[in-house]
């Protein structure tokens, strides 16, 4: 654990540079370049806004729907994009195995970080839109740092697991994208927990993404401390620790073979 952290510290520049490279490659070929990092999620948001404004139950939220939706979807999108990208990371960075003396377990970090750059840009725009809709600044906004850290940790554990396995079992990527699509509906992005009867709410909070998505709202809208939903928080950390351990175990076992398989 100690050597892991010191190595992470010494490799930090390399990881950041490789993430920047990844970020650049993603956008370099398009005419609009970096603008897509903004246009794509905004377009998605507009579509959801159109669709769900009709469907939603008007009773549940005191906030304008766009504010509610935006504050929730930002965190979710980061998570789901990062999961997808980082699951591919061992494959897409396999050229590096020959070149760089970088601990393999840092490779998913590169993808997560590169997605995180986009996330920061989108978050900036989201906050701008919130301000336009009359949501004021609060010190609770800085609580986002906790939720970002939390998403990072869950992502690290999960993608150690998925990125190592997908090298052997390619089919996994389809399962993940189906899974994330299901999670989109199981997480309170366009719906509200109060729309469900009291006795079912606990089950919805088992979903670890509940803590993240609601957490972004706690920070941006509700101005509640991050521990105010104990059950969701507990479930999140149980999942996160579980995946960190399982992910580390699986990755450790499989990574020596990457050079032969990836």
């Amino acid at each position: 654990m100690g050597t892991f952290l010191t190595e992470l510290y010494t490799s930090r520049k390399l990881i950041v540079q490789l993430a920047l490279r990844d970020f650049k490659i993603k956008y370099v070929r398009n005419y609009f370049g970096l603008a897509w990092a903004i246009i794509e999620p905004l377009a998605m948001l507009m579509i959801m806004l159109l669709v769900f404004t009709y469907l939603r139950n008007r009773s549940h939220s005191e906030y304008p729907f766009i504010v509610y939706l935006l504050s929730g979807v930002v965190g979710f999108n980061f998570f789901s994009t990062a999961l997808g990208q980082a699951t591919h990371s061992i494959k897409s960075f396999s050229f590096m195995i020959n070149l760089v003396h970088l601990r393999m377990s840092f490779v998913p970090f590169i993808s997560i970080l590169s997605t995180f750059f986009t996330h920061l840009i989108v978050l900036g725009i989201a906050i701008f839109i919130l301000l336009l809709n009359g949501i004021g600044f609060s010190w609770y906004w800085f609580q986002l740092l906790y939720f970002m850290l939390a998403s990072w940790l869950l992502l690290i554990g999960l993608t150690w697991f998925t990125s190592a396995l997908v090298v052997y079992v390619r089919d996994l990527q389809y399962l993940i994208s189906i899974g994330m699509r299901a999670m989109f509906f199981l997480t309170p992005i366009f719906w509200d927990i109060t729309m469900f009867p009291e006795q079912y709410r606990h089950y919805l909070k088992i979903n670890p993404l509940f803590h993240i998505v609601e957490g972004y709202r706690m920070s941006l809208l509700y101005h509640q401390p991050f521990w105010s939903d104990g059950l969701a928080m507990l479930s999140f950390w149980v999942f996160t620790l579980f995946f960190l351990f399982v992910g580390a175990f699986v990755f450790r076992k499989l990574s020596p073979n990457f050079i032969d398989v990836a």
Binding site: K13, L14, Q17, L18, R21, K24, I25, V28, R29, S92, S94, F95, M96, I97, N98, L99, V100, H101, L165, Y168, V169, V250, K253, L254, P256, N257, I259, D260, V261, A262
Partner: protein
């Protein structure tokens, strides 16, 4: 070799496991107990090798004889199954033609990231990159995306950046195979200059002419073993003779069974 050994390999063995499928490999890697269904392929068999500072060593042998695996083991890219590898100094490995370069980035950008990947500090990397660009001499293509390059241009750029990174040891795997005569000539000169300044070079090559011209010492690998190790003329003579003698041996099944993905994976 009077100099102290800079690279020292002792009883190095590298075996690859050939599984019937990725699934059996996965299961056996995760739970390594019980009898498993894999065949071992010995890519390197009991290699003992010492290379001193300032030496330039060529490695020759047929496809699948273990050249690349040997270079990989020396570069520390892959660990030997057993045995001991000791290397003093920094290494720049160059496997494949421009592996690590991305087609969508320009030559200059690729060089930038390449130097970073080799862990070189930023403050001097601009100089190094400029020198490499001058040496590669590919004109205005430097600022074009790499997908517009010919394979020769890519190789030139990759080779140039490797020699200007100023590592103690350079490992070249077929680095000059596609360069034109003029560039090769220029590169040989540069390599000699590097050797004279105390660098060590190990290069795998299929060009006997190149081995004879550049190297002071040549190693012949065959089925993962060092068959010959000595002066270029003698080793090459032996190699030529053995090719003639064993020409039908090519059809031995062992050669077709080479592990699946040993080539440098290209980025897409």
């Amino acid at each position: 070799m009077n100099e102290e050994a800079q690279i020292k390999l002792k009883h190095v063995i590298k075996q690859y496991r050939l599984y019937n499928s990725d699934t059996t490999r996965l299961v056996h890697t995760l739970f390594p107990f019980g009898k498993s269904r894999y065949k071992s392929f010995t890519a390197l068999n009991d290699i003992n090798l010492e290379v001193g500072k300032g030496e330039i060593v060529g490695v020759i042998g047929r496809n699948g004889s273990g050249k690349s695996t040997l270079l990989r083991v020396i570069a520390g890219v892959t660990a030997p199954t057993s045995g001991n590898v000791k290397v003093c100094g920094t290494i720049v490995p160059l496997f494949g033609l421009g592996a690590g370069f991305h087609a969508e980035l320009t030559g200059r950008e690729n060089l930038h990231y390449f130097t970073i990947m080799q862990n070189f500090d930023n403050y001097q990397s601009e100089d190094i990159i400029q020198q490499a660009i001058d040496f590669a001499d590919i004109g205005h293509f430097v600022d074009q995306p790499m997908r517009t390059y010919s394979s020769g241009m890519r190789a030139r750029l990759a080779f140039s950046i490797s020699i200007f990174l100023d590592a103690d040891i350079m490992i070249l795997d077929e680095a000059l195979a596609v360069g034109d005569a003029h560039f090769k000539e220029k590169s040989y000169e540069k390599m000699h200059a590097l050797i004279n300044s105390g660098k060590t070079i190990i290069m795998a090559t299929h060009s006997e002419k190149e081995a004879e011209k550049v190297c002071k010492r040549v190693i012949l690998l065959q089925n993962g073993e060092i068959m010959q190790d000595g002066l270029p003329e003698e080793v090459i003579k032996f190699y030529r003779a053995s090719i003639k003698r064993n020409a039908p041996a090519n059809k031995k099944p062992i050669n077709n069974q080479r592990k699946k993905k040993i080539e440098t994976p290209e980025e897409d």
